[in-house]
Symmetry: C2
Subunit: 132 residues, 2 copies
DNA sequence: ATAAAAATAGTAATCATTATCAAATAGGAA
DNA sequence: TTCCTATTTGATAATGATTACTATTTTTAT
């Protein structure tokens, strides 16, 4: 992945922000440094960088997608009122219960494990070998 | 919550389907019994019933919302290729690792705990007492 | 320098969901 | 039953985030 100036600045500003911005929030910030950048460019590069694993895309909650410059494994809590997303700090050995007590001041309502993967059907199709 | 015939049939058909249908998928099924029903009515009632806790709304995955007639606590795995969502059966005492091995035939790529709650700011606003 | 490939800016299109609103329906009170 | 009022519905318009498109610009390789 070649680092264009747009891509570099998008990444740089995303890493500065600790609040998991949406694409358009980040666009407003980046525009201060690159006044001619297009919103489509921000979307495009965020998508590409998340596919490349340089950043992380947070798309649970059915709302706007949010992006995270911190790629180390960590969990999030999101507010059902305003949609805000915050990190949940965990240490190895912490029980879910102890995590709940220290969820960045949130009143925790629910927790569930979200698994992602590839379903049996898609695995079969993939192995038929019409990929790349 | 009064049970109109539309609402009753939407709930009935949702409970029959075990594959977490989207609103429009369920609409097609319900239309066989109520040919004059509107898609908006399906959306409206799914929203209301999920607010009432009669059904569950699954909105993680960034795609179309899906609905679940089974309200007991359970986790889901979703396919990053086709978006399909399946139940993950867990028993008390199962480690996350053992769950992963039996995730309905899926190849598991990632798991994370998703917390939902109310953020400090929204809690403050709520306690100022301009609610209901 | 020239040509091919990749990326960008600007804008149009998409599509799931929500909002709107006139018409239909359902309960009650009289 | 009849009339009144509140709720719900069906149809359609509006919204809004994201993606697709395309002409132009920028980069890379020859
Ligand atoms: Mn984070
Ligand atoms: Mn389920
Ligand atoms: Zn909040
Ligand atoms: Zn699949």
């Amino acid at each position: 992945m070649r680092m264009t100036s747009q891509r570099e600045i998008i990444l740089e500003e995303l890493k500065k922000l600790k609040n998991h911005p949406t694409a358009d929030e980040l666009y407003l910030v980046v525009k201060k440094r690159l006044p001619r950048i297009s919103l489509a460019t921000v979307y495009r590069n965020l998508e590409q960088m998340s596919e490349a694993g340089i950043i992380k895309k947070l798309e649970y909650s059915g709302r706007q997608k949010r992006f995270d410059g911190a790629t180390h494994p960590h969990n999030h809590i999101h507010c059902i009122r305003c949609g805000r997303i915050a990190d949940v700090k965990t240490r190895p050995g912490n029980s879910v219960h102890s995590i709940i007590k220290d969820a960045a001041g949130f009143q925790v309502i629910d927790d569930q494990i979200e698994f992602t993967g590839i379903c049996p059907d898609c695995l079969t199709t993939e192995n038929m070998g019409n990929s790349h």
